[in-house]
Structure formats: C-alpha cells, structure tokens
Symmetry: C2
DNA sequence: TCCAATTTTCAGTAATTTCTGAAAGTTTGA
DNA sequence: TCAAACTTTCAGAAATTACTGAAAATTGGA
C-alpha cells in the first residue's frame, strides 16, 4: 500500500472496522479509498493503492455494488470501468440503512411472523411465543419509523436531529393544543 | 439440540444471523435461548439445549455479559450461575444501541478527529480531509441525536415513533407559531 | 469476425475464527 | 483446610472465510 499518510490511516481503519460490520477487510478498504478519492478509480488503480490481488478487487467491487455503495462509470476513450462513491453523505447513510434493513431485519421479521402463526404446545412454547411477539412489535415499530425518517428530505431530517430530545416539548405542546381544539396531529394506535 | 420446534427455529435463526452481526453462532443461539426462556438457565442447561461444549458456553456467556445483554443471578440453595435476558425489550434495544455505538462508531469518530488535525500535503489529501470532515459531521449529528432519543422515556419514544414522518407537520406548525410569537422551541445551530 | 484489453470465475491455499477437551483455577461449605 | 462443585483458560483441531493466480469469459473496436 502506497498512499499519503492521511488517506492510508483512513483506509486501514475501514479495513479493520469491516469485521465489526459484516464486510471483509478488502471491501472496507476499497470503500474508504473510493470515498476519499477526488476522482473515479479503475480496478488497477485500486490494486496499486491497496496492494491486493486483481481478482480480490473484482469480488470486492461486486459486493460494494450489491450494497449500492459504489457507482460504476465509464470515462470517454477508456474501456476500463471506473468506480466512485456517491458524493452526498446523507444519501450514503440512507442507502446503508436500507441495505442493512433488508439483509438483517427483514429475514428476522419474516421468521417471527411465521412463529406467530404456530400453535404453541406447552407452557414453554407459549411463553416463547409471547416473547417473540414482543420482539416483533418492537422491531416493526422501529422499522416503520426508520422508513419514515429515511424518506424525509435532508433539510427536515437535519432540523429534527438538531432539535434532538427537545422534540418532546414540541410533542407535549402539540398535544395540549389538540386537547384544546379536539384535533389530533398524530396517527392513532 | 433438543428443543420445541418453535424455540428451535428461533434459536437457529439467531445463530445464522449472528454472522451478519459481529457475533458468532453460539453467542447468537445462546442469546436467543435465554431470551425466550421462561426461567433463568445455568451453563449446563444451555449445553443441553444448544448442544455445544461447556467451554464454548462459558466463552459465549462472557461475551454476552460484555455486551450487557444477559444478567447473571444466583438461585437460593444452588451454587451454579443462572443467566437470563432483561424482560423489557426497549431496555434491550437501548443497550444494543449503546454498545454498538461504543464499539463501532466511537473508534471511527476518534480516527476522524485525528485526521482533522493533520495538515494535508497536496490536493489529494486536501480533498480527502474535506470528505472525512463531511463524514465526521454526519456521524456526530446522528450520534448525538441517537443519544437524545435513547434517553427519552419509552412512552415518549413510542409516541414519537408512531407519529412517524408526520412529525414534519408538527415541526412546520411549531415553526410558524414561533415565527408569529417570536419564540423558538428548537436549539440554535 | 477476430484480436487485444479487460473483467470474472474458480480451484486451491492461506489466514482467521470458532470450537473442543483437558487441565487449571475458583468458590463454598463442612 | 480440604474436597466437591462449578467455571475459566488455553493449546490444538475443525470449520469457515478470505485471498491468489491462472484460466475462462466478455467486451469493444478494427
């Protein structure tokens, strides 16, 4: 690996972190490299920069594309494929949230839904099913909320986040208002 | 493994999912087993139910304790250690969020903070540093917001989540109000 | 169509992670 | 203090995952 020190430490960090996430070192490193690069890179650029094999690079890029974290593009007069990450960090964040949702949460929800349909035989199973239901309700609520949040425009989202826990006050205020006027701003349960 | 079918499929699912998260199969399975169990279990109960070795169980329980996802307790007149998960699914969710924050996000923030202090030499490093700063700002904002959210009481949190994206309307409404009255409910940037 | 440039696949190897059994360590109460 | 009950550690085995180089496949232009 032959990179300026600032970039190198960023790339190495993402490589290490990869294992905490579900991705391998090379995938993490390549993503980091593309993220900070000021121009799209082709596979050989990446091999050169990271110091991994050409085939490994190919695999890693395929995985990053499956995650929708890199864009493929062609440069005029060059047959090679060039890769880059989206510029907008919020868009990246949303993509990541969507993909993790799809890969990690959906399958669990499906399994739990199936479990809800079973008829428990015996006390142990009855209790287990009740617990699974608690988990199901929680995950579903959080999931829907995340989807709502993801679909907000960045402006609103930033406003909301900066408001932070003070949103409580706004809610309380709105609820007193609605009690006075008889209108309700929130969804019913 | 010798468990009622409903419980078995739950336990196996968490085992598989473990690898998508940063935990191994046994850890996932044991957590799932404890989560649905109607009483605390000791290490031998777990070995019996899951079918792994005693030492593996010991390691896995240690990891689950490090994640603060299981409670250790003693039963009167029994020297063995019994394990269970917290009852409250919201508490579990919060613990999980805190631990992931600590393990996955903090180290990255630290690295980025360090990178911000470097003086870039050359255009590539200058651009890279700007990108890292964008990432830093985003992660910090989301992190603070998460912390705010975590510290809300469950009631408010559920209310907020059920409101979903309609919170936008509440925000807009409150802002028109504050424009009228000259008061501001939100933090300043 | 053919050739050269480029990308992908794949089988074998290397590295890492997980798991086990045996041994060592710890704790409790007699 | 000792012994029994129980837990942890750890070195090596097993399983899994990551990586490589060679070969096959694909692509675009002549």
């Amino acid at each position: 690996m032959n990179l300026p020190p600032l970039i190198q430490s960023f790339v190495l960090h993402f490589g290490e972190m990869g294992s905490h996430w579900g991705i391998n070192r090379t995938v993490g490193q390549i993503y980091a490299l593309l993220y900070v690069s000021d121009k799209p890179l082709n596979a050989d650029d990446i091999v050169e920069a990271i110091g991994c094999s050409r085939s490994n690079t190919s695999m890693a890029l395929k995985e990053l594309q499956a995650w929708r974290l890199v864009k493929l593009q062609h440069l005029p007069g060059d047959r090679r494929e060039y890769f880059s990450t989206p510029d907008d960090v919020w868009a990246i964040f949303k993509t990541l949230a969507e993909e993790r949702q799809k890969r990690e949460v959906e399958p669990t929800l499906t399994m739990l839904r199936g479990a809800m349909l079973e008829t428990p035989s015996g006390e142990a199973e009855r209790h287990a099913q009740a617990r699974m239901n608690e988990m199901y309700q929680l995950i579903e609520l959080v999931t829907k909320w995340f989807a709502d949040i993801r679909d907000m425009d960045v402006e609103t989202l930033q406003k909301l986040m900066k408001l932070g826990s003070q949103v409580q006050k706004v809610l309380q205020f709105t609820q007193s208002l609605s009690r006075l006027t008889g209108r309700d701003s929130g969804k019913e349960e």
